[in-house]
């Protein structure tokens, strides 16, 4: 698993594939106040991205990847 879930934070590490979308979706539904830590994320599948964009969780740490930042910023407003 590339996403590690704590009570409050989902920590993304390395490559987050399509398979991460369902557990992330479930976690975000269950944890509306949950934050995401994208600092270790190197790759994000579109399915995972759109779960983040629809849930708009608070970002505890931004991704290092500039493009990922751009994508998350785009639809955040």
């Amino acid at each position: 698993m590339a996403i590690k879930y704590t009570d409050e934070v989902a920590v993304f590490e390395g490559k987050c594939t399509l398979h991460e979308a369902e557990p992330l979706h479930a976690w975000l539904k269950k944890t509306p106040q949950g934050k995401i830590d994208l600092s270790g994320c190197q790759y994000l599948h579109t399915a995972v991205l759109q779960v983040i964009l629809v849930a708009r969780p608070a970002v505890a740490a931004a991704p290092a990847d500039a493009w990922l930042n751009a994508c998350l910023a785009n639809d955040s407003g």
């Binding site: 779960v51 964009l53 751009a70 994508c71 910023a73 785009n74």
Partner: protein, 741 residues
């Protein structure tokens, strides 16, 4: 369609297709040649225009798409590629076939629409515009002008020419393994990326995670062609648009020449007014402004520049004089100031006027002139006869005959000149053939042509067309080796085929030379033996030069056809007979490992031919002069029989002696001395026994018509001075049936 209109359409389309083919070959060699793209574009455009006049939709539709693609190449949005050239060649080939069908049947073939659709589909693969006009065509690219700062990776790039990409992935794209974000991140030249939900997203609770709800908007700094090529795989989901970086300059309305002249003429009158520099400066300024405007509207850029310099330096009466001269010259010829190519082209075309005349009309004229030449000979004959009656009358007749001879000779020269065409008309087809064969046979070859401007009678050139194609095929299939074989032999990996044409001794010479593997003589002998063309003894006796001639034997070629690629028979026997039927000769020179050279020698004109005449049983027969070696008389006793063939000694060699009366099945009287014409045939020299020799004549040979057409012993007939008919012997055919032992 009216017949004359069809003819015109066929003629012009043929020219356009030929031009298109040439330009495409050029473009394939040099993919960035703007001139070749322009020529190809213009040729297809003309073709489309002509086809539209006759509502030939199959041609219009396919040329339209081809034009679109070429336009993107002209604009540098994509390059000509080999696969694209293949498709355009295919388009040219199909249209050529359709034009031929129109010429033959007056309409397109039944399957033209279907074929046109197929060709269009193949062309669309290369169409950048189709990317834009696909399902996402309605895409609104307004966002591209207001990309927020956070979407830019490098905000500095926003001033560059940009390509906007709108990607609306299929909702089920995850199931087919697509990851749209990744696809966008890999976009060539990506410099800005935005992601949005394509519609208001549902609540998190109801969110379908395996449905793609997003759309992507990206900007790229790369050329449209590259971006479009990348997006082609997602063609129905992606729209691509080149963003305008500057507002195009409004092109001024163009003045017609008459208005331009009126304006300039009025300004000239102002410039001729007195005291312009002293007291009438405002009038001068107005005139100068009017001239500048008129030049701008006429788009006479060179003249504008010239004028701008003059305008800045008007301080003296002399400057005004120069200006007046400049305006006057523009009045005479508005293009006068335009330098370079444009002026050159005008000069090239303005001097001469051309008429297009059907070839059959020229032939008709030439035939009539030929008849007239025969009638003139008749007059000379009459003049000689008249001498018996009155010497005075005879002299007068001879005088008139000489005048008529002079005139008819000149007419004949001019009329023959009408039919003189340069070889470039047939050489044009050859580069395409080499290109296609290179691909088909997987051989690399470079064709060079020398002397394309060499002229010959149209009929000679038409005759040459097929043999040349045969010889090139032969060189490509059997001469030029595969690249690895060439490299191993220390040769350049690309084979060279050189075609050279020139005039020599009033003959047209064409050499076709390759630097291929050459023809191994022993192999030719073996094949000829295996095919029963020669016996073992003959093969052993045969010199290398003679053995090479075996490749022209029909039996040899038949065997070749079986092994030749794509069912294309090499048929060198056909080449030889075609050339010889036109009064020409073909020779071959080959060296193993070095290459092969075929040399064709043909008469420049077919119209008037030099004939040697011979008499057999009081009948006169013609022998083409190029076959005649020598005429001599030999005593009967020097004739020796070897097996069943009569022979005689000629210059230290034994030649077979054939009696023409026997060949023609005419009874003949026995004589002590035999008149023997030594003639040069396929197999070598042969002595032809006749009753007597007669005078050489220059005649117009007509092919035999009616039931005589099938008589192969004669190649044609000609009218002689005394009104009698001369039958021209087809010696090859005559001797062919006669086995020489």
């Amino acid at each position: 369609m009216a017949s004359s209109l069809i003819d015109q359409f066929v003629l012009e389309s043929g020219e356009s297709l030929s031009e298109a083919s040439d330009a495409l070959l050029e473009l394939e060699k040099n993919r960035n040649d703007p001139d070749a793209v322009d020529r190809l574009f213009r040729a297809l455009h003309t073709l489309k225009g002509n086809a539209a006049l006759f509502d030939l939709q199959a041609i219009v539709n396919v040329t339209h798409i081809a034009e679109d693609i070429l336009d993107t190449i002209r604009k540098g949005q994509q390059e000509m590629s080999s696969p694209l050239a293949d498709v355009i060649f295919s388009v040219i080939d199909h249209i050529s076939a359709w034009v031929a069908a129109i010429e033959r049947d007056g309409r397109l073939p039944a399957d033209a629409a279907t074929v046109s659709d197929e060709l269009r589909a193949r062309l669309r693969e290369f169409s950048i515009h189709d990317m834009k006009s696909g399902p996402a065509a309605a895409a609104d690219f307004a966002w591209a002008s207001e990309v927020p700062a956070h979407a830019w990776l490098d905000i500095a790039k926003q001033d560059q020419p940009l390509i906007a990409v709108l990607y609306t992935p299929d909702e089920g794209c995850f199931y087919s393994g697509d990851d749209p974000l990744q696809i966008m991140r890999d976009l060539p030249g990506l410099c800005a990326l935005q992601v949005e939900f394509r519609a208001a997203p549902p609540a998190l609770q109801d969110f379908e995670i395996y449905t793609c709800h997003l759309k992507f908007m990206a900007l790229s700094t790369f050329p449209l062609a590259e971006v479009a090529a990348y997006c082609r795989e997602y063609k129905d989901q992606i729209a691509v648009k080149e963003l305008a970086t500057e507002i195009p300059e409004q092109s001024p309305e163009v003045l017609d020449a008459t208005t331009f002249r009126q304006i300039m003429s009025a300004q000239l009158k102002i410039l001729e007014l007195p005291n312009l520099l002293a007291g009438n400066q405002s009038r001068l300024n107005a005139a100068l402004q009017n001239i500048a405007n008129a030049l701008a509207y006429m788009k006479l850029d060179a003249a504008r520049e010239q004028f701008a310099v003059m305008q800045d330096n008007i301080s003296h009466e002399n400057d005004l004089a120069t200006l007046r001269q400049f305006v006057s010259s523009l009045l005479e010829d508005p293009q006068a100031g335009q330098a370079g190519e444009q002026t050159g082209k005008r000069a090239e075309t303005s001097g001469k006027k051309f008429l297009q005349v059907e070839q059959s009309r020229i032939d008709q004229l030439l035939n009539l002139i030929g008849e007239m030449a025969a009638a003139r000979n008749n007059l000379q004959y009459l003049a000689e006869h008249a001498e018996k009656v009155s010497r005075e009358l005879s002299l007068e007749l001879k005088d008139r005959a000489a005048l008529i001879e002079h005139i008819t000779q000149e007419m004949q020269d001019i009329a023959v000149g009408f039919r003189m065409t340069s070889l470039s008309s047939i050489f044009k087809r050859l580069p395409r053939l080499v290109r296609d064969l290179s691909k088909e046979l997987d051989r690399k070859a470079r064709l060079t042509i020398e002397g394309g401007e060499t002229e010959a009678d149209r009929h000679v050139i038409d005759t040459l067309s097929e043999p040349l194609l045969h010889m090139l095929r032969n060189s490509m299939a059997h001469g030029i080796e595969p690249s690895d074989e060439r490299t191993a032999a220390g040769k350049h990996p690309t084979g060279a085929i050189h075609i050279k044409a020139y005039h020599h001794n009033n003959q047209l010479i064409i050499e076709v030379e390759d630097d291929g593997r050459g023809i191994p003589v022993q192999k030719v002998k073996n094949k000829a033996l295996a095919n029963g063309i020669v016996s073992t003894e003959e093969a052993e006796r045969m010199s290398d030069t003679d053995a090479l001639q075996l490749i022209f034997h029909s039996g040899f070629s038949m065997a070749e056809k079986v092994t030749s690629l794509s069912g294309r028979g090499v048929g060198m026997d056909v080449v030889k007979s075609t050339v010889e039927n036109a009064g020409g000769r073909i020779t071959i020179h080959s060296e193993v490992g070095v290459g092969t050279r075929f040399t064709l020698a043909l008469p420049l004109f077919i119209a008037a031919a030099q004939m040697m005449t011979v008499r057999v049983a009081e009948q006169l027969f013609g022998i083409p002069m190029q076959q005649v070696q020598q005429s001599l008389r030999i005593p009967r006793k020097s004739i020796r029989k070897i097996k069943k063939t009569e022979t005689f000694v000629y210059r230290d060699s034994i030649l077979p002696l054939l009696r023409l009366h026997a060949l023609l099945d005419i009874p003949a009287a026995e004589q002590d001395d035999m008149a023997v014409m030594i003639v040069r045939l396929h197999h070598g020299l042969v002595g032809l026994a006749v009753d007597d020799f007669s005078n050489p004549v220059e005649v117009v040979i007509k092919p035999l018509s009616g039931i005589l057409k099938t008589v192969s012993n004669f190649s044609g007939s000609a009218l002689l001075a005394d009104g009698s008919v001369l039958l021209v012997l087809n010696l090859e055919e005559l001797v062919h049936g006669h086995q020489i032992h």
